[in-house]
């Protein structure tokens, strides 16, 4: 495995791209002779006055020039937000594009264009991720989100195909299980869940709780800011051995998030259980940025054990995705490659 910085417009060698549109990261995956290449940009931005342009060029940060404004994008937006004492802006909130955020759409368009690069041929297939409809907030508009992303990808010169986010994890991680399993994508804005049996999606839904919800809840409990809780998480939090009140508060919310997701699986499965039989036990795969906390898998198993009696699906194993940040993009790439093989 190698990590390096490359120009965004590198030409691909093989056809098909997978694009994971997350609240925290945009990740594109494509095949090259050397292996699978993933490109990632943090899905955030902040606008600064034009006079800072010279300083930005010197510091080599990613920016977009829009009229008289300079918009810093990616990881640097967080750093600059701290420097200037401002809040970072995000094109996606709680997993979805907010209608009316016209500025954010343009920034999102540029970020997607840079992550995807030029298509290898006109209308090269790009399978992009779409969350499932949230079961706990029917007001959230998946249709608008999907339509906008489809348009952005098409305008980048690709043929856009939407696909369920959690299902992509099953395509990436459950090949040996005949593409059967339950995938949990613990993202920043929401948590997506999918159950598939031999590639066929049997159940998919999302809940409007994720990493941001943990930060907000824990911050409220201990009287800290959401940014501080996020920073504690990212510096390294062991869920099995929390230290101090702040970490303990985070653990409480992690536990609640997992319980909430599992409870909703039970609830949603009950709606469809009469329609089919589970032919064999299936694995549970946990993925997503929020699942990167140290000890997450053991913590999940512990919570799952307490819920196992009521869990309606026979589970063979609980495991983590091999690459939690890239699993969705890789699964989407499998689907894109498949489109060409068909």
């Amino acid at each position: 495995m190698s990590e390096n910085e490359t120009p965004a417009a590198a030409q691909p060698a093989l056809m098909g791209v997978g694009l994971d549109m997350g609240t925290m990261n945009i990740v594109a995956a494509r095949r090259q002779p050397s292996g699978v290449v993933t490109k990632r940009i943090r899905d955030s931005f902040i606008d600064l006055p034009k006079e800072h342009k010279r300083m930005l060029k010197l510091s080599n940060v990613n920016y977009i020039q829009k009229g008289d404004d300079i918009i810093i994008v990616g990881d640097a937006a967080y750093e600059m937000a701290n420097v200037f004492g401002r809040e970072v802006r995000r094109p996606l909130a709680a997993g979805l594009i907010a209608a009316g955020e016209i500025d954010a759409l343009e920034i999102l368009g540029v970020m997607v264009r840079e992550v995807l690069g030029d298509p290898a041929t006109e209308n090269e297939i790009c399978v992009f991720s779409v969350p499932a409809a949230p079961v706990d907030d029917p007001s959230k508009d998946i249709v608008y989100h999907k339509g906008i992303l489809e348009r952005i990808v098409n305008e980048c010169g690709y043929k856009a195909i939407p696909s369920n986010e959690a299902l992509a994890i099953i395509y990436a991680e459950c090949g040996k299980d005949q593409f059967s399993g339950i995938a949990f994508s613990f993202g920043s804005g929401m948590t997506n869940v999918a159950l598939a049996i031999r590639t066929v999606e049997a159940l998919s839904f999302s809940v409007g709780r994720g990493g941001d919800w943990i930060d907000a809840g824990a911050a409220k409990s201990v009287g800290a800011t959401q940014a501080r809780m996020c920073s504690i998480k990212e510096k390294g939090l062991n869920l099995m051995k929390p230290v101090g009140r702040e970490q303990e508060a985070l653990v409480v919310y992690y536990k609640n998030l997992i319980e909430y997701a599992l409870d909703n699986v039970v609830k949603e499965f009950q709606k469809i259980s009469s329609k089919f039989d589970m032919p064999f036990p299936v694995p549970i795969v946990v993925s997503g940025g929020t699942s990167k906390a140290e000890g997450f898998l053991d913590f999940f198993k512990e919570v799952f054990e307490s819920k196992k009696k009521r869990f309606p699906i026979e589970v063979s194993v609980v495991r983590a995705a091999t690459e939690p940040l890239d699993a969705v993009a890789r699964g989407l790439l499998v689907q894109a490659v498949q489109e060409y093989d068909d």
Partner: protein, 238 residues
């Protein structure tokens, strides 16, 4: 499909030559709406709502008003004169046939052609019965008085008028029911801006790139291909 613009706040859309009042509803061609910068502007600030949908009489009739009328509307048109009872009966019969045989039928185009061919023959009995019923209803109560005869020429004129009124619906000029019904069910009010990805925007962006072994992915794609092939084969055998 057309674009329906519903005004939430009084506003002007100069490039569509529109000056809208709260609650006003206008329809414009999709292409015009798509290219209207002023429409995008007022949409972004929530002064209007925009829907792409089929325009149909039914929807217009049932659309709930998005505002409360402050003054009662003054009727300026004089009401149409009352139609004769026989004509009303014939119209009702024709309308019933149109609704049952055409609007609610699954394959309307084929059926319309067939009904057009058989129209007069098929309707003759019903119309005759309806006319007879209407005449009976108009008959004077006293048995001693002679009933006023409805002469054949008047009768033919009424029937011709009713059939002529119904014919455009059969020829497809007015009613396109199956498709419209389907679209109305799937209709999603949605406005998506165009030109989101501006190729002229200057950007200095370097994205993080990682390269990993693709064996797992190749294997997954191979397995998926194999499973899909088997599934196709099984479906074919069935």
């Amino acid at each position: 499909m057309e674009t329906q613009i519903i005004c939430c706040e009084p506003c002007k859309i100069p490039d569509l030559s529109l000056d809208l009042h709260r609650g006003e509803e206008v329809w414009v061609a999709n292409e015009l709406a798509k290219n209207s910068k002023d429409l995008k502007r007022v949409l972004a600030i929530g002064q209007v709502r925009v829907y792409q949908r089929m325009r149909d009489k039914k929807a217009r009739r049932h659309a709930p008003p998005s505002y409360q009328r402050l003054k009662p509307k003054v009727r300026t048109q004089t009401p149409a004169p009352e139609k004769p009872a026989v004509e009303k009966v014939i119209e009702r019969v024709v309308e019933k046939i149109v609704v049952e045989k055409v609007i609610e039928a699954p394959d309307t185009e084929a059926l319309a052609a067939q009904i057009k061919r058989d129209l007069l023959g098929e309707m003759a009995g019903t119309i005759e019965a309806a006319v007879a019923a209407a005449m009976a209803a108009q008959a004077p109560p006293a048995p001693t008085q002679a009933a006023p005869a409805l002469d054949a020429a008047t009768m033919a004129a009424i029937v011709q008028q009713a059939v002529a009124a119904a014919l455009p619906a059969f020829t497809g000029g007015v009613v396109v029911p199956a498709k419209r019904r389907e679209q109305a069910d799937d209709e999603v009010p949605l406005y998506l801006p165009t030109g989101i990805v501006d190729k002229d925007v200057k950007a200095e962006i370097t994205v993080k790139s990682e390269s990993k072994d693709s064996n797992d992915l190749d294997e997954a794609a191979k397995l998926l291909r194999e499973m899909k092939r088997r599934k196709k084969q099984t479906d074919k055998d069935k």
